[in-house]
């Protein structure tokens, strides 16, 4: 039982990263209809940025946690203005290619400077111990990650469902043309929403630095799984992507717990789930069929 709880906890922590990344992808896709392939590279930049800030500027994890998501969000906004917006009127494939190319550039730039080996990054001292929460000792840093991820997801849900800004973004996302005819300047929201999604990926990256191997390819390995998570949750569905993120994290951890023999299954599991979900509900668990244009 204690074992099961432990795996469940680890699954939730793994799911927290998937949820944060999937949330950013879903927000961006919903507003711009852009599949941001560079999301994994941004995650990697968040983690690597934390490492670089510490080793080259002596800035602690806490600084990284504040500075990097903001800096990457600004980078995302510039990227949207300078490149993504130019391709917005063309086939969505062009922006997919753009962000794919950007991924390769970012990865190789980091690779050429720091090599491919993983860089060590320690959790801040105050979070390095364990928390005794009754059943077993939880690593404090992982509890911290889980709390932050849940707080961010709840915060985004609140922002989208309970505020005027969220209402406008929902309307602009669901029916852009109708919304402009009702006096909403849809274009005004595109750049901040893109930056916000990128910032979330950066945040996930900083949070990952102390517990994941920090190397140039860390995002490339993860992003494919995150795409599958977004598809399972339903393209563009905010709630779906978060729920699917945590669910996949849990299921992966449980299958891993079955032992070595199941390691392979735990890796392909997410894709099996995706195939199954798509057969059953082609728009994903919480997705809606696209309205005819």
């Amino acid at each position: 039982m204690v074992n099961f709880l432990q795996h469940t906890f680890n699954g939730l922590v793994g799911g927290a990263f998937l949820a944060l990344l999937a949330l950013g992808l879903a927000v961006i896709f919903g507003m711009l209809r852009v599949v941001n392939f560079a999301h994994g590279a941004i995650y990697m930049l968040g983690a690597f940025g934390a490492y670089v800030l510490l080793t080259e500027a002596g800035l602690s994890f806490w600084w990284a946690l504040i500075v990097l998501p903001l800096a990457l969000a600004l980078f995302g906004m510039a990227l949207e203005r300078l490149l993504v917006a130019r391709l917005a009127r063309l086939d969505p494939l062009y922006n997919f290619l753009l962000t794919f190319g950007l991924t390769l550039i970012l990865q190789d730039a980091v690779k050429s400077r720091y090599g491919v080996q993983s860089s060590p990054y320690d959790a801040p001292a105050i979070l390095s111990g364990t928390l005794d929460l009754g059943a077993f000792d939880f690593p404090a840093y992982r509890v911290f990650v889980l709390v932050i991820a849940i707080a961010v997801c709840v915060g985004v849900w609140w922002l989208l469902s309970r505020t005027r800004v969220g209402m406008v973004v929902r309307a602009a996302t669901e029916r852009p043309e109708l919304s402009t005819a009702l006096g909403i300047d849809v274009g005004r929201w595109v750049t901040p929403v893109f930056g916000f999604g990128i910032g979330l990926a950066g945040l996930a990256g900083v949070l990952a630095a102390p517990i994941r191997a920090v190397n140039p390819l860390m995002g490339a390995d993860l992003i494919i799984v995150v795409f599958a998570v977004v598809v399972i949750g339903g393209l563009g569905s905010i709630f779906g992507s978060v729920a699917a993120g945590f669910a996949i994290g849990l299921v992966q951890a449980w299958v891993q717990a079955l032992g070595e023999d199941w390691a392979l299954l735990s890796q392909v599991l997410v894709f099996l789930v995706m195939a199954g979900v798509l057969l059953w509900r082609p728009a994903g668990l919480f997705g809606r069929e696209e309205a005819p244009a």
Partner: protein, 230 residues
């Protein structure tokens, strides 16, 4: 209030409007009648600024709307009532009502809207796409009244509604008219059109082929119905 001058529009190579001119004064209701494909909806979309590929002038209060994006035109006082009723699956009825900014001098308050449309009040927390067709139509009209729009662009607001609801749409439009709101109304239901409109333009193949005062329509109703193919 609105002046459309020599407006032409294209979908790719195909020309759907050929030099349409018309004017609407404040408090006036003007219909566009015509068969499917005559260009009625395209004309509304051009006025709203939703159609790429148009030539000619559209002026509101003497000021050209050329190059203005749709959201600016809405803020200048245009109220959009689309043929699909413009509901959102991700917005509740109350949110759908309060989504557009208030743009005119005499907007309806939310209380007024709910008093006039008790059904909307009862369903205010439901996603707006879950309303019945009639309720969705009332929502689309209530929304532009709450904006305080000065010129309503209504695309077949009575389509598919029961006679009772058609009468209610008529009441709303006449009430708006009394407050000086102008209406450009696309309508296939000629009988309904004569109960609300001052003037009618008959559109065919992208041209205004005939313009009639309301009094002339009754005398020629048979004729016109045959022409519309109804």
């Amino acid at each position: 209030m609105l002046r459309v001058d020599e407006l032409s529009a294209w979908y790719g190579e195909a020309q759907v409007l050929r030099g349409v001119s018309l004017e609407i004064a404040a408090g006036e209701v003007v219909t566009l009648c015509g068969r499917n494909g005559a260009g009625k909806t395209t004309l509304l979309r051009c006025v709203m600024g939703l159609h790429q590929g148009q030539r000619g002038a559209v002026e509101l209060d003497g000021r050209s709307l050329a190059g203005q994006p749709a959201h600016r035109r809405a803020r200048a006082g245009l109220g959009w009532v689309p043929d699909d009723r413009g509901c959102y699956a991700t917005l509740t009825v109350a949110e759908t009502l309060s989504l557009p900014p208030v743009v005119g001098p005499s907007p309806w308050s939310l209380e007024q809207v709910y008093e006039a449309f008790p059904h909307l009040h009862a369903r205010r927390s439901a996603p707006s796409t879950t309303l019945s067709g009639g309720e969705q139509q009332m929502l689309a009209l209530a929304r532009v009244l709450r904006m305080g729009a000065r010129l309503l662009l209504c695309d077949e607001p009575t389509e598919g509604l029961s006679p009772l609801l058609v009468a209610q749409v008529g009441d709303i439009l006449r009430q708006a008219k009394q407050h000086g709101v102008a209406v450009l109304l696309v309508e296939q239901n000629l009988h309904f059109a004569t109960t609300v409109a001052d003037r009618h333009h008959l559109l065919a193949e992208g041209r205004v082929v005939e313009s009639l005062a309301n009094s002339e329509v009754a005398a020629r109703e048979k004729d016109l119905l045959a022409y519309l193919g109804i």
